[in-house]
Every structure is written in structure tokens, then in C-alpha cells.
């Protein structure tokens, strides 16, 4: 008992001192906030819980910001506009994202899920920290087309935000640190780990997979898991999966690194909730999972950086898949749909 007492004393004292310095967001994680429990079948997160300990007030603040269109220049677009909960925070039926003035972006808005486990973000891995990531869509002229000083001015002019930020971070004007920390409280809370697959893996309840789903699970492990690895279903690498011979429209990872060896490489997306998130690929070119599997079966085209996994020795490019195998894989992918995630009222825009 002795150590906890000393520890809680230290915490209490630290809390008091921190409150005095206006740093009161340093507190223990609160289990009532979504995503605070780390799934047993996931690896260790990149953005640890104690990096920005979840609290109900800071999480709610982040949620308000996520759904607030005032983050965009003309008040027309929020984060939630292109990241919709009912499709795992991807953008339903949009090949490319739409920004202010209905400007068309250059890429397919990805699902936002399990961001706590990601070492970098976007199809090209440009942003490298969940806290600073939102600055990219915020300032991109094709997305929210806004500036950080203007957003902070808008937030500071709103008595509701001023009061709520002060309650979490102490008195004083809302600054970039508070704004980005609060937003990360919400984005880091988007854990999806309650699909039927997860329940089977963790032995929860009496969840089972059908025979076809089981066959699909084995096929995915055999043919897909070299990229869609672990129970996050991505190894977070950048790979060229044979969509183009030149990648003239979008060089992918090379846009960030400047290396020709990275031309055509894009972040391997997770397969979680994949049945909910058409269209597929960085440019949204495929409308169905069947089209995606058909691409791997016979659509892969060669280029200097084509991934080794798609150029088997002595065989044609790609991953051969019979129609039965494709059906089984799609059956399995459906078990990765997490209904509780997309229906979690705590993650929804509040009235």
C-alpha cells in the first residue's frame, strides 16, 4: 500500500503545481474516454496513453473541434466532412476529398482508425506525429484553406471554447499547443478493435467465423499478410502495388523523400472496416473489393519500384486468386467491420 500512497501524493502535489503553471492537462488517463483501453491483440501504440492522457473534458473539446466547420476558411468544411463515422471516418462515395468551395483534392481520404498506432500519416507518410498532422489539411488550399492564427482567433472569440479550454488547460488565450493537444484527444480515441474477428481472436462471447470466413482468414494470412500484417492489418510500410507504370499523377512516398526509389510507393492501408470504405487506393480508382482483388490477380503493372511481393519468380505479376478464393477473402474482410465503432455515440457529432 505504501507505494501507491506515495505515488498518489506525488500525483496530487504535481497536479496542484501544474495547475498553478497552467499545465493541468497532465493527468492520469480516464477509462470513460473511448480508446483508453488498449486492445489485447494489438502491438504497443506509438502514441502512448500517457503522451496525452485522455480526460472526458479534453476529449469532448477535441470532438467539438473535429466537427467544427469554423476550422475551414469559409466555415464550410470540418474534419468530419471528409471523415464520416458511418464509414469508419473515411469519405463515402468520394474518390477524392472535397475542400472549401468544393475544390477537389488529390487523394482519397483514408479511414481514421487506430491512429494511436501509426508512426506516420497520409498516403505518403508526410506528417509524422498525430498532434501536428491536422495542420496539413487545415492549411491545404484544396482542403480547409485556413491559417493557424485565424483558427486560434476564431476559437478565442468563442466564449464557449474559451471557457472549456480554460477548464482543461488553465487560464489564458487558447494557443496552438492547446488546440492541437485537444484535437489529438479525439483522433487518438478512434480505436476500432471490436469486430467479430477481434472477438474470435480474443475469445470474447461466443463469436465464431463461418467456414468460408475461416478459409478467407487463412488466405489473407498466406497471401496478404506480408503487407497487411498484425492485427492492425498493416505493416505501415510504403509499397508500390502496381497501379501505374510511371506514377506521373502522384509519385506517392517520393513526394516526401525526394528519392526515385520511392516513386509509386504508398502507405499500406489497414484492412479493418475495409468493407465500409470504398472507393479504394490512394486515387479511389476501385469501387469494390472485388475490383481490388481482380487488380491483384491480373491487373498489376510493372515499374521499377513494383513491390517484390507482387513479382513472384517465374510467375505472372500479382497474386493469383481464384474466384472462390476471392469470395472467401471478401467474406473474411467483412468480419473486420466494427459496428460498435461506427455506432459509438461518443464519437459522433454532438447536438
Amino acid at each position: 500500500m505504501r507505494r501507491p500512497l506515495v505515488a498518489s501524493l506525488a500525483c496530487g502535489l504535481a497536479g496542484l503545481l501544474l495547475a498553478g503553471c497552467g499545465l493541468s492537462d497532465v493527468v492520469a488517463p480516464d477509462a470513460s474516454v473511448p480508446g483508453t483501453t488498449l486492445p489485447a491483440n494489438f502491438p504497443a501504440p506509438v502514441y502512448a496513453l500517457d503522451a496525452n492522457p485522455p480526460t472526458p473534458a479534453a476529449f469532448a473539446l477535441g470532438r467539438s473541434l473535429f466537427y467544427d466547420p469554423r476550422l475551414s476558411r469559409d466555415g464550410s468544411v470540418s474534419c468530419g466532412s471528409c471523415h464520416q463515422q458511418f464509414v469508419a471516418f473515411a469519405n463515402a462515395d468520394h474518390r477524392l476529398s472535397h475542400g472549401v468551395n468544393n475544390r477537389l483534392g488529390t487523394r482519397n481520404a483514408p479511414a481514421l482508425q487506430n491512429l494511436r498506432w501509426k508512426p506516420d500519416f497520409f498516403w505518403d507518410g508526410g506528417p509524422k506525429n498525430i498532434e501536428t498532422l491536422p495542420l496539413a489539411p487545415l492549411t491545404n488550399p484544396l482542403e480547409m484553406d485556413e491559417t493557424l492564427p485565424r483558427v486560434l482567433a476564431k476559437l478565442n472569440a468563442d466564449p464557449g471554447y474559451a471557457r472549456r479550454f480554460a477548464a482543461v488547460y488553465g487560464p489564458g488565450p487558447i494557443d496552438s499547443y492547446q488546440f492541437l493537444r485537444a484535437l489529438a484527444q479525439f483522433t487518438a480515441a478512434l480505436t476500432s478493435a471490436s469486430s467479430r474477428y477481434d472477438k474470435v481472436v480474443r475469445g470474447e462471447g461466443n463469436a465464431v467465423l463461418t467456414a468460408g470466413e475461416m478459409r478467407g482468414r487463412v488466405l489473407v494470412a498466406q497471401k496478404c499478410a506480408s503487407c497487411h500484417a498484425t492485427d492492425l492489418f498493416t505493416d505501415e510500410s510504403f509499397r508500390n502495388n502496381g497501379l501505374s507504370t510511371s506514377f506521373g499523377a502522384d509519385s506517392g512516398r517520393a513526394h516526401i523523400t525526394g528519392r526515385t526509389t520511392d516513386v509509386g510507393r504508398f502507405k499500406v492501408p489497414s484492412l479493418r472496416n475495409v468493407a465500409l470504405t470504398p472507393p479504394y487506393m490512394h486515387d479511389g480508382r476501385f469501387a469494390t473489393l472485388l475490383q481490388v482483388l481482380a487488380h491483384y490477380d491480373h491487373g498489376v503493372v510493372a515499374s521499377p519500384t513494383l513491390d517484390a511481393a507482387l513479382r513472384p519468380a517465374g510467375g505472372p505479376l500479382g497474386i493469383p486468386l481464384t474466384s472462390t478464393e476471392q469470395a472467401d477473402i471478401i467474406a473474411f474482410l467483412q468480419t473486420l467491420t466494427d459496428d460498435s465503432f461506427i455506432h459509438d455515440a461518443r464519437l459522433a457529432e454532438q447536438p
Binding site: 507505494r3 501507491p4 505515488a7 498518489s8 506525488a10 500525483c11 502535489l13 504535481a14 497536479g15 503545481l17 501544474l18 498553478g20 503553471c21 497532465v26 492520469a28 488517463p29 496513453l49 500517457d50 503522451a51 492522457p53 506516420d120 508526410g126 506528417p127 509524422k128 506525429n129 498525430i130 498532434e131 501536428t132 495542420l135 496539413a136 487545415l138 492549411t139 491545404n140 493557424l148 492564427p149 486560434l152 494557443d175 496552438s176 499547443y177 492541437l180 493537444r181 489529438a184 516526401i256 523523400t257 525526394g258
Partner: protein
């Protein structure tokens, strides 16, 4: 239990940090020594004047400067016995438009005799990816690339009649191989000079920061003609060229006031 210990540990750590740093208003300091770094921006032999004064590069191009900002970080002092003192959490943004930013006052440098000063021009790789930060590293300072995370280490904007757009935009940064533009320099103290850090004393190190050295040195940068360079907007080979230039002699220690 495990999670509890971790949070307890971090709380204890936070407490320890507070004990060390404290709230400004609460700390009564018993005349510890301070060491000041005073930076003076020049263009060759001339003082830097923003917007209105025209300068010449060594290669003969004309230019004016409207913005000049540069990060200095990870300051280290070396004693005459070779031991070193690294100033914790030392990140500073020098800004030619803000005279207050040209003075860095350091407390906590242990008493002793020092023969050298070392610092990084730019921001170390860890702090380029550490999430949102405060003070000099606040992203509101407009020195952060959003689409490809990382700080702009050195920002020079201005104009040149030789530039085909008349504009000059040099945003130098990048921390990843092969385009790592983080540079660490140790400008020598004047011969025979030692920095004496003693209680009750406030020595000042005066440094000259010569902007001309961005465009000459290992790589001659021209603003017009073939092979000219008028714009750097991301990490890359051009940023590395300019970083190699300024690492080769932008900073010199002019003199040290013992005070």
C-alpha cells in the same frame, strides 16, 4: 497495476521537473551566474537592415532581405578541462525582425572556465517529430512544414533583380538522410579568451551571424543564369547545399564580455 505505476512514475517525473524548473513567479534566485549570447546579423561587413538595404553576394548578385529567421538549439559549453555542459531544452528562434530574439540568457551554466561553445543550427531530428511544442518550437511561429513534418531551420525571404521572379525564398530544413540539413557548429573563441562563469557575474558572448555565408563557401549560389537557385521550399539537395554553406562560417565569436 502496471498502468498505475507508469502514471505514478510520470507524475513523479513531472514533480521532479517542477522542482527543478518551478513556476517563474515562485522562484527566488540567489544571484546565480548567467551567460548571455548576443547575436548580431550582418551581411558581410554591413549590418542587416530588413527591406530597404541592397547587398551584394560575393559572386556579385544583388539582393534585399525581408525575413530572416533561424533556429539555434542544443547549446553546449566546453570547459578548459574538456568536460561539457549541455544546456537543457535549449531551443531558440533568432528573428531579425525581433531585436528581443537576438539575446539568449542562460541560467544554470555551472561555474567554471570555458574554452568553447557548440550549438546546432536548426532542430534535432527528435524534436522535428515530437508533436506540438511550446516556446520557440510553437508551430505558430510559421517555421513548420505541415505536409511533410519538420521545422524550417533557416528562413530567408527577399528579392533580387537577378531572380527571374525577382523573389528569393530560401526555406532550409530536413532531418532525414540523404537530405539532413541539421548542422552543428563550434565557432572558436578569440585566441587566448576564456569564458569565466562565476556567481554574481553575467558574461556575454557576442556572435556575428553573416547572411552572406548562405550563398558562398563550399557552394556558390547564384540568383540568375544557368544553375541559379532562388527558391527552396522543402528538404532536398539544395537545402543541404545552403546548410553546408552556413555551417562553414556563418557564425563567428566576435568577443566575450567578462562582466
Amino acid at each position: 497495476m502496471k498502468r498505475f505505476s507508469i502514471s505514478a512514475l510520470s507524475c513523479t517525473f513531472a514533480l521532479a521537473m517542477l522542482a527543478l524548473t518551478g513556476c517563474k513567479k515562485d522562484v527566488v534566485v540567489a544571484a546565480p551566474p548567467t551567460v548571455s549570447l548576443e547575436f548580431e546579423q550582418t551581411v558581410g561587413a554591413d549590418q542587416l537592415v530588413l527591406d530597404t538595404k541592397t547587398y551584394n553576394t560575393l559572386a556579385g548578385d544583388q539582393f534585399r532581405v525581408s525575413i530572416f529567421r533561424q533556429y539555434i538549439s542544443n547549446i553546449i559549453f566546453t570547459k578548459t578541462d574538456g568536460s561539457t555542459y549541455a544546456v537543457p531544452d535549449s531551443y531558440y528562434l533568432l528573428d531579425a525582425a525581433k531585436p528581443d530574439n537576438q539575446h539568449i540568457t542562460l541560467t544554470g551554466v555551472p561555474e567554471g572556465d570555458y574554452k568553447g561553445l557548440t550549438f546546432t543550427i536548426g532542430v534535432d531530428s527528435l524534436h522535428n517529430v515530437s508533436g506540438t511544442q511550446k516556446g520557440a518550437l510553437d508551430v505558430s511561429n510559421n517555421m513548420f512544414w505541415t505536409w511533410n513534418s519538420g521545422y524550417i531551420f533557416t528562413k530567408l525571404e527577399g528579392s533580387s533583380p537577378q531572380s527571374r521572379t525577382t523573389a528569393l525564398t530560401f526555406h532550409v530544413g530536413g532531418f532525414k538522410t540523404p537530405y539532413n540539413a541539421v548542422r552543428t557548429v563550434s565557432p572558436a573563441f578569440p585566441a587566448g579568451t576564456t569564458l569565466l562563469v562565476r556567481a554574481g557575474h553575467t558574461p556575454e558572448i557576442h556572435l556575428n551571424q553573416d547572411l552572406l555565408k548562405m550563398f558562398s563557401g563550399p557552394n556558390t549560389i547564384r540568383f540568375g543564369g544557368t544553375g541559379s537557385m532562388i527558391e527552396i521550399m522543402s528538404a532536398g539537395a539544395n537545402a543541404v547545399q545552403v546548410a553546408n554553406n552556413y555551417a562553414a562560417g556563418m557564425f563567428t565569436v566576435e568577443h566575450i564580455h567578462a562582466n
